[in-house]
Amino acid sequence: MAEKYLTYEYNIDGENFTTAGEASVNLKRVLRRIGFAPEVIKRASIAMYEGEINMVIHAGGGVARVNIYEDKIVITLDDNGPGIADVELAMKEGYSTAPDKIRSMGFGAGMGLPNMKRNADKLEISTRLGEGTTITMTITVAATATAND
């Protein structure tokens, strides 16, 4: 169901750690105005935030596209980074390939992908070494879960 949807596109600047997270704040604002349940908004914005940070750390930025349906939110993160060599390993909590410099800034604790998986109802990764990664996260909205109930 739910053909009706809204689309938003955010360019994630790969150079800038301080602006990473802006797309997440922006998305949160839109979802609030539509009236999704706080729990849905929280999951979507955490997933988006982790995705943004990942693209900055590993891929030099990228594009985030968000399709908002009545019953689900689909976030697609697209980058032209190095790709993920071992997806299964990358999904493990605490596993990280972030360089020391990044870790010293408090990022790269190996919780990004696991957090995205935990907050999304569905997470799909398509990656090619040397070409880039596309991650699609789906957050489903329970039929009754709106802020107005």
Binding site: K4, G21, K28, R32, R33, G35, I41, I46, E70, A147
Partner: protein, 426 residues
């Protein structure tokens, strides 16, 4: 639900319809319509920012006048800790308490004393392992309202205890009745001496869930000169003040949290910073954080819009006053209740307000509206100039879609139209 009573009002005669308040309102509650500002009561959080910004003094705080207090009642002053930092030569708090008695109050109960009790209760509350962390202080009424309106997922983090003002009102009544057994509740009239209009809203709306124990709120800047004149002689023989360093510390940002003797705290002040912190808490995990103190005013309560003295000067004075005080003078009984504090001090902040942020109760319709807003927004200049009467182009697009503004009110759009018309003439 009862209509929310605000404490910020507008003098239409003085309002020039400029955009100072419009641009600075943190919740975008203001619009300029028909040449003057209007405030959306559902969005206003009573932070007082518009009062601070208005160059024409058109925005006013509503509070009770000293002369309007019922003289036949047993009047108890509840001075905010901020009051202590307002006087240049004040080094002994007893002078100030005596001053309050001299201008007509029958008794004084320092809010700082109630604050010290709350500090101790908060320490005990934080020691529990069944609570949602980090605990966010609920003492600033602006923050409590902001959280319940804009950050519903954080309502469970708010400290579920009465704010110092309310506890002070209750304790003042108990103390007065103990001292004068003939007094009844109806004979007592408690008056908070406030640095900010938000405390007025707090009392008027009975946010505690029942009737507030505070009857009236007087502004610090309204009582200041009267106090100053009676404090001149500076002769006191009776020690009145019962507060310690901790209670006085509540007046400035960081005072409430540093008193907890727990390093895992964050304190932020100034409404913009407060919102940034709340956004962050809403999205990220902070496992090392136990307590979050948020003050809507810069510098803490000393930065309140009804205070007289510059907040940074006030902070220095408070530091000098604190030097001669014991750490704390209030000590609640060890076994005060299962929650870490007595049950009768508990409040349920979740039911006070409900979020207002959605465009329409129906998700499908809200999405339609959002699509229309996005469509209009794309055609706007993104100057956020405020000339249309809305604070940003985004807010203007929303106002147009809701039928609260006309698209042609955008002067940039109009100028383009005009150019086209002129070009056609040639």
């Amino acid at each position: 639900m009862a209509v929310y009573k605000h404490s910020v009002s507008l003098d239409i005669e003085k309002c020039k319809g400029c955009t100072h308040c419009l641009k600075r309102c943190p919740t975008e509650a203001i619009r300029i319509r028909d040449g003057h500002a209007t405030i959306d009561p559902d969005r206003c959080i009573d932070c007082g920012e518009c009062i601070r910004q208005c160059p024409h003094n058109a925005k006013k705080a509503i509070y009770d006048k000293l002369s309007s207090l019922p003289a036949d009642k047993y009047l108890i002053a509840l001075p905010a800790p901020t009051l202590y930092g307002q006087f240049e030569r004040l080094d002994d708090l007893d002078h100030l308490i005596k001053g309050l008695l001299d201008i007509g109050f029958d008794d004084v109960f320092e809010v700082a004393c109630a604050a010290e009790l709350i500090t101790e209760y908060t320490r005990r509350f934080l020691a529990r392992d069944d609570i949602v962390r980090p605990v966010i202080s609920s003492a600033c009424p602006v923050v409590a309202r902001l959280v319940s309106l804009r950050f519903p997922t954080l309502v469970g983090n708010l400290m579920p205890i009465l704010p110092p003002i309310e506890l002070a009102g209750r304790l003042a009544r108990e103390k007065a009745k103990a001292k004068n057994p003939s007094l009844k509740d109806g004979d007592i009239f408690t008056v908070f001496i406030s640095p900010c209009p938000a405390k007025v809203s707090y009392v008027k709306n009975n946010l505690v869930g029942g009737v507030s124990s505070v009857d009236a709120v007087v502004a610090i800047n309204d009582i200041y000169f009267e106090l100053l004149s009676v404090m001149e002689d500076r002769i006191t023989s009776v020690p009145y003040s019962r507060t310690g360093m901790i209670g006085v510390g509540w007046a400035t940002s960081g005072g409430e949290s540093s008193a907890l003797m727990n390093d895992h705290y964050l304190s932020a002040d100034g409404i913009e910073n407060v919102i940034k912190v709340l956004e962050d808490l809403d999205t990220s995990e902070h496992p090392n954080l136990d307590f979050v103190e948020l003050n809507a005013c810069s510098g803490g309560c000393v930065g309140g819009v009804l205070a007289v003295e510059n907040p940074y000067v006030a902070r220095v004075r408070l530091r000098n006053i604190k030097r001669y005080l014991p750490v704390s003078q209030a000590r609640p009984p060890e076994d005060a209740g299962g929650a870490g504090f007595p049950d009768e001090y508990k409040i349920n902040l979740g039911v006070i307000q409900k979020p207002i942020s959605s465009l329409n109760p129906d998700i499908r319709q809200a999405m339609d509206l959002m699509a229309d807003i996005d469509e209009i927004f794309k055609t706007l200049p993104e100057l956020d100039c405020g000339s249309c009467g809305s604070p940003t182009c985004r807010a203007f697009a929303e106002d147009v879609v809701k039928g609260n503004a006309k698209y042609e009110e955008c002067i940039v759009v109009m100028r383009q139209k005009l150019k086209h018309l002129l070009a056609e003439d040639i």
